[in-house]
Protein backbone atom coordinates (compact mmCIF):
# COMPACT_ATOMS: atom_id res chain seq x y z
CA UNK A 1 0.00 0.00 0.00
CA UNK A 2 1.39 3.38 -0.89
CA UNK A 3 1.97 5.93 1.85
CA UNK A 4 -0.79 8.21 0.57
CA UNK A 5 -3.33 5.41 0.50
CA UNK A 6 -2.27 4.34 3.98
CA UNK A 7 -2.71 7.85 5.29
CA UNK A 8 -6.20 7.98 3.78
CA UNK A 9 -7.12 4.63 5.35
CA UNK A 10 -5.74 5.75 8.72
CA UNK A 11 -7.77 8.97 8.54
CA UNK A 12 -10.92 6.96 7.77
CA UNK A 13 -10.31 4.70 10.75
CA UNK A 14 -9.68 7.77 12.90
CA UNK A 15 -12.92 9.39 11.69
CA UNK A 16 -14.82 6.19 12.50
CA UNK A 17 -13.30 6.11 15.99
CA UNK A 18 -14.40 9.69 16.57
CA UNK A 19 -17.92 9.01 15.33
CA UNK A 20 -18.25 5.96 17.59
CA UNK A 21 -17.10 8.15 20.47
CA UNK A 22 -19.79 10.74 19.67
CA UNK A 23 -22.39 7.98 19.65
CA UNK A 24 -21.75 7.31 23.37
CA UNK A 25 -22.85 10.87 24.15
CA UNK A 26 -20.57 11.13 27.19
CA UNK A 27 -17.32 13.05 27.38
CA UNK A 28 -15.74 10.40 29.58
CA UNK A 29 -15.23 8.19 26.51
CA UNK A 30 -13.10 10.94 25.03
CA UNK A 31 -11.30 11.51 28.30
CA UNK A 32 -10.29 7.84 28.56
CA UNK A 33 -9.70 7.55 24.83
CA UNK A 34 -7.36 10.55 24.90
CA UNK A 35 -5.08 8.80 27.37
CA UNK A 36 -4.97 5.66 25.23
CA UNK A 37 -4.17 7.69 22.10
CA UNK A 38 -1.53 9.61 24.00
CA UNK A 39 0.13 6.31 24.79
CA UNK A 40 -0.10 5.22 21.14
CA UNK A 41 1.82 8.36 20.17
CA UNK A 42 4.40 7.98 22.97
CA UNK A 43 4.95 4.28 22.21
CA UNK A 44 5.26 4.94 18.47
CA UNK A 45 7.66 7.82 19.10
CA UNK A 46 9.73 5.75 21.53
CA UNK A 47 9.89 2.96 18.99
CA UNK A 48 11.36 5.26 16.33
CA UNK A 49 14.53 5.33 18.42
CA UNK A 50 14.24 2.25 20.65
CA UNK A 51 12.73 -0.21 18.20
CA UNK A 52 14.28 0.90 14.91
CA UNK A 53 17.81 1.78 16.02
CA UNK A 54 17.95 -0.23 19.26
CA UNK A 55 18.74 2.67 21.60
CA UNK A 56 16.61 2.36 24.75
CA UNK A 57 15.41 5.73 25.98
CA UNK A 58 14.36 5.91 29.64
CA UNK A 59 13.66 9.61 29.39
CA UNK A 60 10.27 9.68 27.65
CA UNK A 61 8.77 11.58 30.58
CA UNK A 62 11.31 14.39 30.11
CA UNK A 63 10.49 14.88 26.43
CA UNK A 64 6.79 14.64 27.14
CA UNK A 65 6.99 17.11 30.03
CA UNK A 66 9.07 19.55 28.01
CA UNK A 67 6.23 19.64 25.49
CA UNK A 68 3.71 20.14 28.27
CA UNK A 69 5.74 22.85 30.00
CA UNK A 70 6.41 24.65 26.71
CA UNK A 71 2.63 25.04 26.50
CA UNK A 72 2.44 26.34 30.04
CA UNK A 73 5.24 28.85 29.43
CA UNK A 74 3.89 30.03 26.06
CA UNK A 75 0.33 30.31 27.32
CA UNK A 76 1.54 32.43 30.20
CA UNK A 77 3.80 34.57 28.01
CA UNK A 78 1.09 35.24 25.42
CA UNK A 79 -1.61 35.55 28.08
CA UNK A 80 -3.81 37.83 26.00
CA UNK A 81 -3.79 35.76 22.81
CA UNK A 82 -5.08 32.28 23.70
CA UNK A 83 -2.70 30.38 21.43
CA UNK A 84 -4.44 27.51 19.67
CA UNK A 85 -3.35 24.01 20.67
CA UNK A 86 -1.90 23.06 17.24
CA UNK A 87 0.49 26.01 17.57
CA UNK A 88 1.48 24.90 21.07
CA UNK A 89 2.06 21.39 19.72
CA UNK A 90 4.41 22.62 17.04
CA UNK A 91 6.29 24.65 19.64
CA UNK A 92 6.48 21.69 22.05
CA UNK A 93 7.63 19.46 19.21
CA UNK A 94 10.39 21.89 18.29
CA UNK A 95 11.58 22.24 21.90
CA UNK A 96 11.67 18.49 22.56
CA UNK A 97 13.12 17.81 19.11
CA UNK A 98 15.99 20.20 19.71
CA UNK A 99 16.63 18.78 23.17
CA UNK A 100 16.54 15.31 21.60
CA UNK A 101 19.12 16.40 19.07
CA UNK A 102 21.32 17.91 21.78
CA UNK A 103 20.99 14.89 24.00
CA UNK A 104 21.78 12.66 21.06
CA UNK A 105 24.86 14.64 20.21
CA UNK A 106 26.14 14.38 23.78
CA UNK A 107 25.21 10.77 24.48
CA UNK A 108 25.04 8.76 21.28
CA UNK A 109 28.70 7.93 21.41
CA UNK A 110 27.67 5.84 24.39
CA UNK A 111 26.44 2.40 23.51
CA UNK A 112 23.80 0.18 24.97
CA UNK A 113 23.04 0.56 28.63
CA UNK A 114 25.23 3.67 29.04
CA UNK A 115 23.03 5.57 26.62
CA UNK A 116 19.96 4.49 28.59
CA UNK A 117 21.46 5.69 31.86
CA UNK A 118 22.24 9.04 30.25
CA UNK A 119 18.61 9.44 29.17
CA UNK A 120 17.49 8.66 32.70
CA UNK A 121 19.88 11.32 33.97
CA UNK A 122 18.41 13.79 31.47
CA UNK A 123 14.95 13.14 32.87
CA UNK A 124 16.14 13.86 36.41
CA UNK A 125 17.97 17.03 35.36
CA UNK A 126 15.00 18.42 33.41
CA UNK A 127 12.60 17.61 36.22
CA UNK A 128 14.83 19.38 38.73
CA UNK A 129 15.03 22.43 36.48
CA UNK A 130 11.28 22.60 35.96
CA UNK A 131 10.56 22.05 39.65
CA UNK A 132 12.69 25.10 40.41
CA UNK A 133 11.39 27.24 37.58
CA UNK A 134 8.90 29.61 39.17
CA UNK A 135 7.57 31.02 35.90
CA UNK A 136 5.82 27.72 35.09
CA UNK A 137 4.66 27.20 38.65
CA UNK A 138 7.66 25.36 40.08
CA UNK A 139 6.75 22.60 42.47
CA UNK A 140 3.33 24.20 43.13
CA UNK A 141 2.26 23.41 39.59
CA UNK A 142 0.27 25.48 37.12
CA UNK A 143 -3.45 25.76 36.47
CA UNK A 144 -4.67 25.93 32.91
CA UNK A 145 -8.08 27.33 32.16
CA UNK A 146 -9.81 25.56 29.31
CA UNK A 147 -11.82 27.79 27.00
CA UNK A 148 -15.53 27.18 27.43
CA UNK A 149 -16.10 26.46 23.77
CA UNK A 150 -13.90 24.53 21.38
CA UNK A 151 -13.62 25.17 17.64
CA UNK A 152 -15.62 22.88 15.29
CA UNK A 153 -16.79 20.18 17.74
CA UNK A 154 -18.08 22.26 20.64
CA UNK A 155 -16.96 20.17 23.61
CA UNK A 156 -13.39 20.94 24.62
CA UNK A 157 -12.67 17.34 25.60
CA UNK A 158 -13.77 16.18 22.17
CA UNK A 159 -11.55 18.82 20.61
CA UNK A 160 -8.53 17.58 22.57
CA UNK A 161 -9.35 14.01 21.60
CA UNK A 162 -9.58 14.98 17.95
CA UNK A 163 -6.20 16.68 18.10
CA UNK A 164 -4.59 13.65 19.72
CA UNK A 165 -6.26 11.45 17.11
CA UNK A 166 -4.68 13.55 14.35
CA UNK A 167 -1.28 13.34 16.03
CA UNK A 168 -1.69 9.57 16.33
CA UNK A 169 -2.34 9.29 12.60
CA UNK A 170 0.67 11.51 11.89
CA UNK A 171 2.96 9.49 14.20
CA UNK A 172 1.90 6.13 12.77
CA UNK A 173 2.11 7.33 9.17
CA UNK A 174 5.61 8.68 9.87
CA UNK A 175 6.74 5.46 11.54
CA UNK A 176 5.43 3.40 8.65
CA UNK A 177 7.04 5.68 6.07
CA UNK A 178 10.39 5.39 7.88
CA UNK A 179 10.23 1.60 7.78
CA UNK A 180 9.90 1.58 4.02
CA UNK A 181 12.51 4.21 3.32
CA UNK A 182 16.25 4.45 3.04
CA UNK A 183 16.18 5.82 6.58
CA UNK A 184 14.49 2.63 7.79
CA UNK A 185 17.19 0.45 6.26
CA UNK A 186 19.83 2.65 7.84
CA UNK A 187 18.16 2.41 11.26
CA UNK A 188 17.90 -1.38 10.96
CA UNK A 189 21.58 -1.66 10.08
CA UNK A 190 22.47 0.40 13.17
CA UNK A 191 20.29 -1.78 15.37
CA UNK A 192 21.89 -4.96 14.02
CA UNK A 193 25.55 -3.96 13.94
CA UNK A 194 26.86 -0.43 14.12
CA UNK A 195 30.42 -1.16 13.01
CA UNK A 196 29.18 -3.10 9.99
CA UNK A 197 26.75 -0.27 9.22
CA UNK A 198 29.61 2.27 9.19
CA UNK A 199 31.65 -0.04 7.00
CA UNK A 200 28.70 -0.15 4.59
CA UNK A 201 28.67 3.61 4.27
CA UNK A 202 25.88 4.34 6.77
CA UNK A 203 26.50 7.66 8.60
CA UNK A 204 25.48 6.14 11.93
CA UNK A 205 25.86 9.23 14.12
CA UNK A 206 23.77 11.38 11.80
CA UNK A 207 21.01 8.79 11.53
CA UNK A 208 20.91 8.32 15.29
CA UNK A 209 20.54 12.08 15.67
CA UNK A 210 17.64 12.02 13.21
CA UNK A 211 16.05 9.26 15.30
CA UNK A 212 16.45 11.04 18.65
CA UNK A 213 15.21 14.35 17.25
CA UNK A 214 12.19 12.76 15.55
CA UNK A 215 11.33 10.61 18.53
CA UNK A 216 11.74 13.54 20.92
CA UNK A 217 9.67 15.84 18.72
CA UNK A 218 6.69 13.47 18.66
CA UNK A 219 6.90 13.04 22.44
CA UNK A 220 6.95 16.82 22.84
CA UNK A 221 3.97 17.21 20.53
CA UNK A 222 2.11 14.59 22.55
CA UNK A 223 2.89 16.54 25.71
CA UNK A 224 1.85 19.97 24.48
CA UNK A 225 -1.96 19.61 24.93
CA UNK A 226 -1.50 17.78 28.25
CA UNK A 227 -1.85 20.86 30.52
CA UNK A 228 -5.27 21.46 28.95
CA UNK A 229 -6.17 17.80 29.42
CA UNK A 230 -5.37 17.72 33.15
CA UNK A 231 -6.07 21.46 33.71
CA UNK A 232 -3.56 21.33 36.56
CA UNK A 233 0.02 20.36 35.78
CA UNK A 234 2.75 19.84 38.36
CA UNK A 235 6.18 18.25 37.90
CA UNK A 236 5.11 15.02 39.62
CA UNK A 237 2.34 14.35 37.09
CA UNK A 238 4.20 15.76 34.08
CA UNK A 239 7.32 13.67 34.73
CA UNK A 240 5.30 10.68 35.92
CA UNK A 241 7.10 7.34 35.88
CA UNK A 242 4.06 5.99 34.06
CA UNK A 243 5.08 7.72 30.82
CA UNK A 244 8.60 6.31 30.81
CA UNK A 245 7.51 2.82 31.81
CA UNK A 246 4.56 2.65 29.43
CA UNK A 247 6.41 3.96 26.42
CA UNK A 248 8.93 1.13 26.83
CA UNK A 249 6.45 -1.55 27.88
CA UNK A 250 3.97 -0.92 25.08
CA UNK A 251 6.34 -1.48 22.14
CA UNK A 252 7.87 -4.44 24.00
CA UNK A 253 4.49 -6.06 24.57
CA UNK A 254 3.23 -5.22 21.09
CA UNK A 255 6.42 -5.86 19.13
CA UNK A 256 9.24 -3.50 18.21
CA UNK A 257 10.11 -4.32 14.61
CA UNK A 258 7.30 -2.37 12.93
CA UNK A 259 4.68 0.31 13.50
CA UNK A 260 1.91 -2.19 14.30
CA UNK A 261 3.59 -3.35 17.51
CA UNK A 262 3.53 -0.09 19.50
CA UNK A 263 -0.03 0.54 18.27
CA UNK A 264 -1.30 -2.84 19.48
CA UNK A 265 0.73 -2.66 22.68
CA UNK A 266 -0.52 0.81 23.52
CA UNK A 267 -4.16 0.00 22.73
CA UNK A 268 -3.89 -3.15 24.85
CA UNK A 269 -1.98 -1.82 27.87
CA UNK A 270 -3.55 1.63 27.66
CA UNK A 271 -7.11 0.26 27.71
CA UNK A 272 -6.36 -2.13 30.56
CA UNK A 273 -4.97 0.73 32.61
CA UNK A 274 -7.90 3.01 31.88
CA UNK A 275 -10.25 0.19 32.87
CA UNK A 276 -8.28 -0.49 36.05
CA UNK A 277 -8.38 3.19 36.97
CA UNK A 278 -12.18 3.20 37.19
CA UNK A 279 -12.68 -0.43 38.20
CA UNK A 280 -14.22 -0.78 41.67
CA UNK A 281 -12.79 -4.28 42.09
CA UNK A 282 -9.26 -2.95 42.01
CA UNK A 283 -10.26 -0.05 44.19
CA UNK A 284 -9.28 2.54 41.58
CA UNK A 285 -5.74 2.87 42.84
CA UNK A 286 -3.53 4.44 40.18
CA UNK A 287 -0.60 2.41 41.53
CA UNK A 288 -2.33 -0.75 40.38
CA UNK A 289 -1.73 0.40 36.80
CA UNK A 290 2.02 0.15 37.03
CA UNK A 291 1.69 -3.23 38.73
CA UNK A 292 -0.34 -4.50 35.78
CA UNK A 293 2.16 -3.07 33.30
CA UNK A 294 5.07 -4.59 35.23
CA UNK A 295 3.52 -8.04 35.38
CA UNK A 296 2.62 -8.02 31.68
CA UNK A 297 6.05 -6.73 30.77
CA UNK A 298 7.78 -9.52 32.64
CA UNK A 299 5.52 -12.20 31.19
CA UNK A 300 6.07 -10.94 27.65
CA UNK A 301 9.83 -10.64 28.01
CA UNK A 302 9.90 -14.25 29.20
CA UNK A 303 7.23 -15.85 27.04
CA UNK A 304 7.03 -13.71 23.90
CA UNK A 305 10.13 -11.56 23.43
CA UNK A 306 8.92 -10.45 20.00
CA UNK A 307 5.64 -9.21 21.42
CA UNK A 308 2.12 -9.75 20.20
CA UNK A 309 3.13 -9.09 16.60
CA UNK A 310 5.85 -11.74 16.92
CA UNK A 311 3.31 -14.25 18.26
CA UNK A 312 0.92 -13.51 15.41
CA UNK A 313 3.67 -13.82 12.82
CA UNK A 314 4.72 -17.19 14.24
CA UNK A 315 1.08 -18.35 14.11
CA UNK A 316 0.78 -17.17 10.54
CA UNK A 317 3.94 -19.00 9.49
CA UNK A 318 2.75 -22.22 11.19
CA UNK A 319 -0.62 -21.90 9.50
CA UNK A 320 0.88 -21.34 6.06
CA UNK A 321 3.16 -24.33 6.57
CA UNK A 322 6.88 -24.51 5.99
Amino acid sequence: MSSRLFLLAALLVAAAVFMIGRWFRIDYVFFAGYKVLLYVVLATAWNMLGGYTGYVNFGTAAFFAMGAYSSVALTKYFAGFALPIPVLMIAGGIVSGIVGLGMGYLTLRLRGVYFSIATLALAVVVQTLVTNWDYVGGSRGAYMVRPAEAPVVGSYMQYLFLIMLALTVAAIATARAIERSKLGYGFASIRDDEAAAEASGVPTLRLKLVATALSGAFMGMAGAPYPYYVTYLDPTSGFSLAFAVNSIAMPLVGGMTNWVGPLIGALFLGSIQEAATVSTILGAHPEVNLLIVGLLLVSFVVAAPNGIVGLLEARLRAWRGP
Binding site: K182, Y185, G201
Partner: protein
Amino acid sequence: MSEALLAVNGLGKRFGGFVALDGITLDVIRGERVGLIGPNGSGKSTLVNCLCGTLRNESGTVRFDGRAMDGLPAHQRTRLGMARSFQLPRPFASLSVAENVRIPLIYAVNARPGRRLGEREIDARCDALLGMVGLAPKARQRPRDLSQVEMRKLELARAMAAEPKLLIADEAMAGLSHSEVDDILALLRRLNERGITVILIEHIMRAVMSFSERLVVLVAGRKIADGIPDEVIRNPEVEKAYLGE
Protein backbone atom coordinates in the same frame (compact mmCIF):
# COMPACT_ATOMS: atom_id res chain seq x y z
CA MET B 1 54.90 5.14 -11.29
CA SER B 2 51.75 6.91 -10.21
CA GLU B 3 50.96 7.47 -6.56
CA ALA B 4 50.13 4.36 -4.59
CA LEU B 5 46.42 3.67 -4.03
CA LEU B 6 47.05 3.29 -0.32
CA ALA B 7 49.96 5.03 1.37
CA VAL B 8 50.44 4.44 5.08
CA ASN B 9 53.19 6.44 6.73
CA GLY B 10 54.48 5.95 10.26
CA LEU B 11 51.12 4.78 11.60
CA GLY B 12 51.02 4.26 15.36
CA LYS B 13 48.27 3.15 17.72
CA ARG B 14 48.38 2.42 21.42
CA PHE B 15 45.83 1.09 23.86
CA GLY B 16 46.81 2.64 27.19
CA GLY B 17 50.40 1.59 27.74
CA PHE B 18 50.28 -1.15 25.13
CA VAL B 19 51.73 -0.24 21.75
CA ALA B 20 49.56 -2.05 19.22
CA LEU B 21 51.09 -0.52 16.11
CA ASP B 22 54.47 1.11 15.96
CA GLY B 23 55.37 3.22 12.96
CA ILE B 24 53.84 1.14 10.17
CA THR B 25 54.76 2.35 6.71
CA LEU B 26 53.19 0.58 3.78
CA ASP B 27 52.32 1.33 0.14
CA VAL B 28 49.84 -0.59 -1.93
CA ILE B 29 49.75 -0.03 -5.67
CA ARG B 30 46.55 -0.09 -7.74
CA GLY B 31 45.54 -3.60 -8.73
CA GLU B 32 47.97 -5.28 -6.36
CA ARG B 33 47.27 -8.39 -4.29
CA VAL B 34 48.94 -7.98 -0.92
CA GLY B 35 49.00 -10.57 1.81
CA LEU B 36 49.28 -9.43 5.42
CA ILE B 37 50.36 -12.00 7.96
CA GLY B 38 51.55 -12.07 11.52
CA PRO B 39 51.10 -14.10 14.69
CA ASN B 40 48.00 -13.58 16.85
CA GLY B 41 48.08 -10.21 18.55
CA SER B 42 50.59 -8.75 16.12
CA GLY B 43 48.27 -5.88 15.23
CA LYS B 44 46.77 -6.98 11.91
CA SER B 45 43.17 -6.25 12.81
CA THR B 46 44.15 -3.04 14.59
CA LEU B 47 45.85 -1.95 11.38
CA VAL B 48 42.71 -2.74 9.39
CA ASN B 49 40.60 -0.82 11.90
CA CYS B 50 42.91 2.20 11.68
CA LEU B 51 42.89 2.09 7.87
CA CYS B 52 39.10 1.88 7.74
CA GLY B 53 38.44 4.50 10.38
CA THR B 54 36.93 2.21 13.01
CA LEU B 55 39.81 3.17 15.29
CA ARG B 56 41.75 6.42 15.34
CA ASN B 57 45.52 6.21 14.98
CA GLU B 58 47.51 8.49 17.27
CA SER B 59 50.38 9.08 14.91
CA GLY B 60 51.18 8.74 11.25
CA THR B 61 49.05 9.31 8.16
CA VAL B 62 46.90 7.27 5.82
CA ARG B 63 46.43 8.45 2.24
CA PHE B 64 44.01 6.68 -0.01
CA ASP B 65 43.44 7.40 -3.67
CA GLY B 66 45.34 10.67 -3.34
CA ARG B 67 43.39 11.91 -0.31
CA ALA B 68 44.31 12.19 3.33
CA MET B 69 42.06 9.90 5.37
CA ASP B 70 43.01 11.20 8.79
CA GLY B 71 40.00 11.98 10.93
CA LEU B 72 37.45 10.76 8.38
CA PRO B 73 34.78 8.50 9.88
CA ALA B 74 34.48 4.95 8.59
CA HIS B 75 31.40 5.54 6.43
CA GLN B 76 33.14 8.26 4.45
CA ARG B 77 36.14 6.04 3.78
CA THR B 78 33.75 3.40 2.50
CA ARG B 79 32.15 5.97 0.23
CA LEU B 80 35.59 6.95 -1.07
CA GLY B 81 36.22 3.37 -2.11
CA MET B 82 37.71 1.48 0.81
CA ALA B 83 35.75 -1.62 1.78
CA ARG B 84 36.38 -4.29 4.33
CA SER B 85 35.04 -7.59 5.47
CA PHE B 86 35.07 -8.44 9.16
CA GLN B 87 37.08 -11.18 10.79
CA LEU B 88 33.94 -12.60 12.37
CA PRO B 89 31.02 -12.18 9.97
CA ARG B 90 28.82 -9.31 11.11
CA PRO B 91 25.67 -9.54 9.02
CA PHE B 92 22.60 -7.38 9.66
CA ALA B 93 20.66 -10.13 11.40
CA SER B 94 17.16 -8.70 11.08
CA LEU B 95 17.48 -8.04 7.35
CA SER B 96 17.30 -10.58 4.55
CA VAL B 97 20.44 -11.62 2.67
CA ALA B 98 19.47 -9.39 -0.27
CA GLU B 99 18.77 -6.44 2.04
CA ASN B 100 22.20 -6.89 3.62
CA VAL B 101 23.75 -6.20 0.24
CA ARG B 102 21.30 -3.38 -0.37
CA ILE B 103 22.58 -1.23 2.52
CA PRO B 104 25.94 -0.31 0.91
CA LEU B 105 24.20 0.24 -2.42
CA ILE B 106 21.87 2.88 -1.01
CA TYR B 107 24.29 4.34 1.53
CA ALA B 108 27.70 4.12 -0.14
CA VAL B 109 27.17 3.96 -3.91
CA ASN B 110 24.21 6.34 -4.01
CA ALA B 111 26.07 8.80 -1.77
CA ARG B 112 28.77 9.36 -4.39
CA PRO B 113 28.47 12.53 -6.39
CA GLY B 114 26.65 11.99 -9.65
CA ARG B 115 25.51 8.48 -8.75
CA ARG B 116 21.89 7.61 -8.28
CA LEU B 117 20.80 4.01 -8.69
CA GLY B 118 17.08 3.60 -9.25
CA GLU B 119 14.99 1.03 -7.40
CA ARG B 120 15.19 -1.42 -10.30
CA GLU B 121 18.93 -0.98 -10.69
CA ILE B 122 19.41 -1.64 -6.99
CA ASP B 123 17.42 -4.86 -7.20
CA ALA B 124 19.42 -5.95 -10.25
CA ARG B 125 22.66 -5.11 -8.46
CA CYS B 126 21.64 -7.16 -5.41
CA ASP B 127 20.86 -10.13 -7.64
CA ALA B 128 24.17 -9.78 -9.50
CA LEU B 129 26.23 -9.51 -6.30
CA LEU B 130 24.54 -12.48 -4.70
CA GLY B 131 24.91 -14.39 -7.97
CA MET B 132 28.63 -13.62 -7.99
CA VAL B 133 29.12 -15.26 -4.58
CA GLY B 134 26.57 -18.02 -5.22
CA LEU B 135 23.99 -16.85 -2.71
CA ALA B 136 21.22 -15.98 -5.18
CA PRO B 137 18.96 -18.88 -4.09
CA LYS B 138 19.12 -17.66 -0.49
CA ALA B 139 18.41 -13.99 -1.21
CA ARG B 140 15.20 -13.91 0.82
CA GLN B 141 16.51 -15.86 3.81
CA ARG B 142 17.90 -14.41 7.01
CA PRO B 143 21.64 -14.51 7.71
CA ARG B 144 21.04 -16.96 10.59
CA ASP B 145 19.99 -19.58 8.01
CA LEU B 146 23.38 -19.40 6.28
CA SER B 147 26.31 -21.74 6.78
CA GLN B 148 29.69 -20.45 7.89
CA VAL B 149 31.11 -20.26 4.37
CA GLU B 150 27.93 -18.62 3.07
CA MET B 151 28.19 -16.05 5.83
CA ARG B 152 31.75 -15.23 4.67
CA LYS B 153 30.51 -14.91 1.12
CA LEU B 154 27.76 -12.56 2.24
CA GLU B 155 30.40 -10.53 4.07
CA LEU B 156 32.39 -10.23 0.84
CA ALA B 157 29.32 -9.51 -1.28
CA ARG B 158 28.35 -6.71 1.10
CA ALA B 159 31.86 -5.26 0.94
CA MET B 160 31.79 -5.49 -2.86
CA ALA B 161 28.39 -3.80 -3.08
CA ALA B 162 30.06 -0.53 -2.10
CA GLU B 163 32.03 -0.66 -5.40
CA PRO B 164 35.40 -0.41 -3.67
CA LYS B 165 38.76 0.35 -5.21
CA LEU B 166 40.42 -1.44 -2.33
CA LEU B 167 39.05 -4.50 -0.56
CA ILE B 168 40.49 -5.45 2.79
CA ALA B 169 39.55 -9.04 3.58
CA ASP B 170 40.17 -9.66 7.26
CA GLU B 171 40.53 -13.42 7.73
CA ALA B 172 37.78 -14.19 5.27
CA MET B 173 38.67 -17.88 5.38
CA ALA B 174 39.24 -18.69 9.04
CA GLY B 175 37.54 -21.93 10.03
CA LEU B 176 36.67 -22.98 6.50
CA SER B 177 37.41 -26.35 4.88
CA HIS B 178 40.03 -26.87 2.19
CA SER B 179 37.59 -26.61 -0.71
CA GLU B 180 35.74 -23.69 0.84
CA VAL B 181 39.04 -21.82 1.11
CA ASP B 182 39.61 -22.45 -2.61
CA ASP B 183 36.12 -21.12 -3.26
CA ILE B 184 36.80 -17.84 -1.51
CA LEU B 185 40.27 -17.55 -3.09
CA ALA B 186 38.79 -17.95 -6.58
CA LEU B 187 36.26 -15.27 -5.72
CA LEU B 188 38.95 -12.85 -4.53
CA ARG B 189 40.98 -13.53 -7.66
CA ARG B 190 38.00 -12.75 -9.88
CA LEU B 191 37.54 -9.46 -8.03
CA ASN B 192 41.22 -8.63 -8.46
CA GLU B 193 40.96 -9.34 -12.20
CA ARG B 194 38.23 -6.71 -12.35
CA GLY B 195 40.79 -4.21 -11.12
CA ILE B 196 40.09 -4.21 -7.40
CA THR B 197 43.13 -3.98 -5.18
CA VAL B 198 43.02 -6.63 -2.46
CA ILE B 199 44.69 -6.80 0.93
CA LEU B 200 44.29 -10.29 2.32
CA ILE B 201 44.81 -10.86 6.00
CA GLU B 202 45.06 -14.53 6.65
CA HIS B 203 46.49 -17.25 8.84
CA ILE B 204 46.12 -20.02 6.27
CA MET B 205 49.58 -19.92 4.65
CA ARG B 206 48.56 -21.99 1.65
CA ALA B 207 45.94 -19.37 0.79
CA VAL B 208 48.18 -16.36 1.39
CA MET B 209 51.08 -17.83 -0.56
CA SER B 210 49.00 -18.71 -3.61
CA PHE B 211 47.12 -15.43 -3.64
CA SER B 212 49.62 -12.72 -2.78
CA GLU B 213 51.98 -10.95 -5.12
CA ARG B 214 53.56 -9.33 -2.12
CA LEU B 215 53.68 -10.31 1.51
CA VAL B 216 53.84 -8.01 4.53
CA VAL B 217 54.64 -9.42 7.96
CA LEU B 218 53.65 -7.76 11.23
CA VAL B 219 55.13 -8.86 14.53
CA ALA B 220 54.26 -7.16 17.81
CA GLY B 221 52.95 -4.08 16.03
CA ARG B 222 55.95 -3.59 13.74
CA LYS B 223 56.44 -4.39 10.11
CA ILE B 224 59.38 -6.79 9.94
CA ALA B 225 59.22 -7.85 6.31
CA ASP B 226 57.72 -6.68 3.04
CA GLY B 227 58.45 -8.28 -0.32
CA ILE B 228 58.01 -11.23 -2.65
CA PRO B 229 56.25 -13.99 -0.68
CA ASP B 230 58.84 -16.73 -1.27
CA GLU B 231 61.64 -14.51 -0.09
CA VAL B 232 59.72 -13.14 2.85
CA ILE B 233 58.98 -16.51 4.38
CA ARG B 234 62.66 -17.44 4.21
CA ASN B 235 63.54 -14.26 6.07
CA PRO B 236 65.16 -15.35 9.36
CA GLU B 237 63.24 -12.74 11.37
CA VAL B 238 59.93 -14.06 10.05
CA GLU B 239 60.93 -17.63 10.82
CA LYS B 240 61.90 -16.59 14.30
CA ALA B 241 58.56 -14.87 14.88
CA TYR B 242 56.59 -17.89 13.79
CA LEU B 243 58.73 -20.77 14.97
CA GLY B 244 60.83 -19.30 17.75
CA GLU B 245 64.59 -19.56 17.87
